[in-house]
Symmetry: C2
Subunit: 199 residues, 2 copies
């Protein structure tokens, strides 16, 4: 017969088309627009059909997350294999990670819990600027070169902030936190950045 295999193939096709549709919607309209009924519209079925391929909405998100990690893995490996020197390899790998985050923005958001639709960073809010200014002032006190260039303090501020915000985010999203390692990273990295603040 072979019709079993044909049906099997069709099923896999629809499953893939669900994921494709989901991705298409998210890339066009963002994560807020992601809905079962919209996916159904795109694949030209009704919503309940999707539940024969995925247990629920989160099932689709899980699968997309998996795909995202696979893409990332390929890119990072390719970056490594493009260099010989271990130092260059490591740098290339992190740069590949960086590029992935923006080329596959939607994947990255899903994989690492980075929102963007709602609640943007309101950096123009005076209440937000207050804290930023405190840090800028503190950093500029440590800069010996006078006059202090705006670029330098900005660079240092974002280096600090990125490190700490990254560490915080990872810990907030990831449950199993090792507090000892966190403190070690925090303190040693802060001291390291402060030490090189006048380089």
């Amino acid at each position: 017969m072979g019709s079993k295999e044909r049906i099997q193939r069709q099923k896999e096709d629809t499953r893939k088309s669900i994921l494709d549709a989901a991705l298409q919607i998210v890339k066009q309209e963002g994560w807020a627009a992601f809905s079962m009924r919209k996916i159904a519209d795109v694949i030209e079925y009704t919503a309940p059909i999707i539940y024969e391929y995925f247990s629920n909405k989160e099932g689709i998100l899980f699968e997309l997350t998996r795909l995202g990690y696979m893409h990332l893995g390929v890119k990072v490996k390719a970056a490594r294999d493009s260099k010989e020197d271990p130092e260059e390899q490591l740098e290339a790998m992190w740069l590949a990670y960086w590029d992935f985050a923006f080329e596959e923005k939607e994947f990255y958001q899903l994989m690492y819990g980075v929102q963007v639709n709602c609640c943007e960073l309101y950096t123009k809010m005076p209440e937000a600027e207050y804290t930023t200014d405190l840090f800028y002032d503190a950093i500029e006190k440590l800069l010996t070169k006078q006059p202090v260039s705006e670029d330098t303090s900005c660079l240092k501020y974002y280096t600090f902030w990125s490190l700490i915000h990254g560490l915080v985010s990872i810990n907030l999203v990831q449950k199993g936190a090792n507090d000892e390692i966190n403190q070690q990273i925090l303190r040693s990295a802060i001291k390291a950045i402060i030490k090189t603040i006048n380089d």
Copy 2:
């Protein structure tokens, strides 16, 4: 009369009670449970009343964000004022920022777009581990001390990852990205961490 003022005061009370209720719900059940009708339940009104105090759901989120930044500002300033030495000040400030993130987890999530309910970091996913392993291998190649301690490579990996993930998150959430500064932070920080990898 003075009744105008009493009414004014009552209005401010309800406004505050809306924010309190919102915060209470989020702290008890997480951001996913945050809804207008639930707030209404808590303040013992019906949902449409809320729209006389806030233009919509985002208006409440905006106000909570503002409050969050105010809390953070107070904490960071207190940390600064607790020290004399500029280096110690800066370190204390970032540690205060760190503490705020976990003490006021819900605020931090809102302020910086850190999801946690849906789509957790699936670090136990084999597809995710693949990339992690690539980085661990690359880092361990650079560690001269043999045998390589698990703690050391872990520390280095998380330092790298935090920095880059933080920088990525900030850029994804915050629109106005300065690509030049990003590249500068990225490359110089990667090189700096690599340089101190055997300290």
